[in-house]
């Protein structure tokens, strides 16, 4: 199956998530992004992130909420912290001669010395006396990886958590949804659910502002009931199904849950012709030659030959938890896992997904980049041995050598801590068994 269909929106779509207009300090703006929806950004357009405190096996890292302290400073850490069991601390980190400090990678968003709190925005004092903005009690930063407005390469809310490391998350204003509903961030888009996490659907048989689901239809579909006090606002409207019974509608279409769904965040209702999950916005389609394949718990994104696409995730074990999943970062972590430090074996175990000459994608998430496959670092077109590869969020993607037929996902969870800490995860687009978590438990950060 070609990689189109229900998971992505066309490049012509104008769907974008509406947000609540909350107070912001001068110099902070909201920017629409393809995957994360609306995010806060600096006046220059740089996406803003927080680094909330999180627990690893042997200790915590990140910023403690409302502490007034930033843990991201100018220290250049030399050794491992030992937070990732079972390995003890004290081992020298790679590429120390070029290692940068946390604040070089994550520049603080500075506030004027006389800045006043606005809404959830407050200030903290950094060790050097500078004022830094904080949001919801957490100091805020930009990412050295982001170069232009709309870039969100420093982190995402749409990937798996668990033992991933204490990562940075982009922040934004709350989505403009009624209290009965919520937005769940997936890699393919931002899906609407009830506040209890169950997916909501719309029907082609309905009209704008009118439900045609009555009688037997209601044995399969439950209207999403709106309270008596509910009022229309923005893209949200209220229809009266029968006297006293109100139903939420989004972009004019009445909303339902699928009564046969027992798991949260499911998409099984969309298997019924004419019924669709609802997204505030979806990502644009992946490269045109990519496909979607049925696999053992759902569907995976695959290359043109049907081989499952894998993402590589990595965080190092220093106190500042630097990412190592990017060609700018040390590659020894990945090389250890995919080839026991042998680049040739690596390229056999997890080959890069090569891009055809001139290939490009409409999606800002998918770009063609030039890589030196032996070092894993960026290269220039024409460099000896350099190859053109597909990247997702500017991280190369891979297939797995021991996937022998379309739908195999044998490379999933390959690496430290089930592939979350330093390893490979399949690009699941649908998971019918694990609440569409793709490894992300509800309470994971």
């Amino acid at each position: 199956m070609a990689a189109s269909g229900p998971y992505w929106q066309s490049k012509d779509s104008t769907d974008a998530e509406a947000y609540v207009d909350v107070p912001m300090p001068p110099g902070i703006q909201v920017v629409q992004t393809e995957l994360e929806g609306p995010v806060y950004a600096t006046a220059e357009g740089k996406t803003i992130y927080t680094w909330p405190l999180g627990g690893l096996r042997n200790g915590n890292a990140g910023d403690r909420r409302n502490s007034g302290v930033s843990s991201c400073d100018d220290t250049i850490y030399k050794e491992t912290s030992g937070y990732m069991s079972p390995y003890p601390p004290g081992f020298l980190l790679p590429e120390l001669e070029t290692r940068r400090s946390c604040e070089q990678l994550w520049p603080p968003v500075l506030a004027p010395a006389d800045a006043k709190p606005v809404g959830k925005w407050t200030t903290i004092k950094r060790k050097n006396g500078q004022s830094q903005w904080a949001y919801d009690g957490y100091p805020v930063y930009t990412s050295d990886l982001d170069k232009k407005q709309g870039d969100v390469y420093g982190g995402t809310n749409a990937l798996s958590g668990g033992a991933q490391g204490i990562v940075r998350r982009p922040i934004g204003p709350p989505p403009d949804v009624p209290p009965e509903l919520a937005v769940v961030p997936f890699r393919t888009g931002r899906m609407l659910t009830t506040h209890k996490g169950f997916s909501v659907y719309v029907s082609d048989a309905d009209e704008n502002g009118k439900s045609n689901c009555t009688g037997r239809c209601l044995s399969d579909w439950d209207p999403v009931v709106a309270p008596q006090t509910a009022k229309a606002k923005g893209e949200w409207s209220v229809i009266e199904r029968s006297p006293g019974i109100k139903q939420w509608a989004y972009r004019g279409k009445p909303l339902y849950t699928y009564v046969h769904e027992k798991k949260a965040r499911a998409v099984t209702g969309s298997d019924n012709p004419g019924w669709h999950n609802v997204y505030t916005q979806r990502a644009l389609p992946p490269p045109a030659e990519f496909t979607v394949q049925d696999s053992r718990i759902g569907q995976v994104l695959a290359d043109k030959d049907g081989k499952t696409i894998y993402l590589y995730q990595c965080n190092d074990d220093a106190l500042d938890q630097q990412t190592c999943d990017h060609p700018d970062s040390p590659q020894v972590y990945r090389l250890a896992i995919c080839g026991n430090f042998d680049p040739a074996l690596c390229q056999k175990t997890f080959p890069y997904v090569k891009a055809s000459p001139g290939a490009k994608s409409d999606s800002s998430l998918w770009t063609v980049e030039t890589i030196d496959p032996n070092t894993g670092k960026w290269a220039k077109p024409g460099d000896a041995g350099a190859i053109q590869v597909w990247t997702y969020r500017r991280r190369p993607v891979y297939t797995y050598g021991d996937d022998l037929k379309p739908g195999d996902a044998n490379g999933d969870n390959y690496g430290e801590f089930n592939g979350q800490r330093n390893g490979f995860r399949a690009f699941w687009v649908r998971d019918d068994y694990r609440n569409n978590n793709v490894g992300r438990a509800p309470n994971d950060r």
């Binding site: 980190l93 969309s270 019924n272 049925d294 718990i297 026991n340 430090f341 690496g415 430290e416 330093n422």
Partner: protein, 367 residues
């Protein structure tokens, strides 16, 4: 250890015998009057869902018989022996080297001593129909038991009664429906004695019915069969019931869902797979056995459980791999002659369920 050729011939012989049995059974298949135990059978069929699974390890008091030298070292102990000498090292020389060794294991000798389980008693089945010098005797006295995996895992704390794999693999099997293993017996005339039944394996898609204690399971539930994502987990085999015990003929390859947590959805692959289950109308209990594919077994271990989790039960993945390859006793690689699979057994329990096949309908996401 049995020779590769003997193994291949014996497995092939069993398969031939199975096919002859099937042919004979098919030729004589006539609806017979229902016999004892038939009250629970609906349309001559009965289903069961797996509620417990434990790699079969024969344990004596204090492990004195099978592990007289104690248990094996795990990642922490081995790491300490290798690197805690006061010398400053990089992460590449230590942690990442150990991870690299784990993901790309070899059969090269190592400095650590691996403690294989001792003795000649083990759970399991006689998978090749022969009695050889490396075979075990079952606790009930049956000779010719093939379970070389027991030699490998018997002195690794992880796999023993209080081991974490036993605990968590069962916990997660009950928690996640994608690990649901369902069997359905069809063409059954009696749960007591029936010379020809068909056993199908499926992945079910529903939760288990646990009782109020949370420890017991209630018969009579329904399992809807996953024929879409679970196609690879579907198998069919022939068997017979003798004095209430189901015994199946070996089938060449069975793949069983075996996911745990952290978003894993792994599986195990068995060659020459068989069941031996004591049946009753509400439950079934016994063994599943076969030659587990060593590469798939190791891959499952590493992708399902991290080095941190291996450390809970003193399980060194690189050391275990060497032992698995050393003791592998079946399915030789046609090119190298190296055995690729190792005889094994799993103790299992089931509760009766009603098996519901899905209605066939066109799904939008298949278009």
């Amino acid at each position: 250890m049995k020779s590769n050729a003997v193994r291949m011939m014996s497995v092939a012989g069993s398969l031939l015998a199975a096919s002859v049995t099937v042919a004979l059974a098919t030729a004589s298949a006539q609806p017979a009057p229902l016999q004892e135990g038939a009250g629970v059978l609906k349309d001559r069929r009965i289903g069961y869902v797996m509620t417990h699974k434990y790699w079969a390890v024969y344990e004596t008091d204090g492990a004195k018989t099978e592990c007289p030298q104690g248990f094996n070292d795990g990642p922490r102990e081995q790491f300490k022996k290798l690197y805690e000498d006061g010398k400053k090292r990089s992460i590449v020389e230590a942690q990442l080297k150990r991870e690299g060794d784990q993901w790309h294991p070899t059969t090269a000798p190592e400095a650590f001593v691996f403690k294989e389980a001792q003795g000649n008693i083990s759970y399991g089945l006689n998978l090749d129909g022969k009695v050889g010098p490396e075979d075990f005797t079952s606790p009930e006295g049956e000779k010719g038991i093939d379970n070389q995996l027991y030699r490998v895992i018997g002195c690794i704390g992880h796999y023993r009664t209080m081991g974490t794999i036993n605990h968590f693999e069962n916990l997660f099997m009950r928690s996640y429906d994608d690990t649901r293993i369902v069997i359905e017996l069809t063409e059954v005339d009696s749960l007591q004695n029936d010379d020809s039944v068909v056993v199908s394996i499926y992945r079910g898609g529903d939760g288990l019915l646990q009782d109020a204690t949370g420890e017991g399971f209630i018969p009579g539930g329904t399992q809807r069969i996953d024929t879409r994502w679970g196609k690879e987990y579907m198998s069919k085999m022939n068997g017979k019931i003798v004095d209430g015990v189901l015994i199946t003929e070996p089938v060449d390859r069975v793949m069983l869902p075996w996911g745990v947590t952290f978003g894993t959805s792994g599986y195990h692959v068995f060659r020459g797979f068989q069941w031996k289950l004591k049946l009753d109308p509400e439950a079934a209990e016994g063994l599943m056995a076969g030659f587990v594919d060593v590469k798939a077994f190791n891959h499952h271990l590493n992708t399902s459980w991290s080095t941190h989790h291996h450390s809970y039960g003193q399980l060194s993945s690189p050391s275990q791999y060497k032992a698995l390859m050393r003791l592998a006793d079946g399915y030789p690689d046609p090119k190298t002659g190296q055995n690729t699979a190792i005889s094994s057994a799993v103790k299992v329990k089931f509760t009766q369920v009603f098996v519901q096949q899905p209605e066939q309908k066109e799904l939008v996401s298949k278009k």
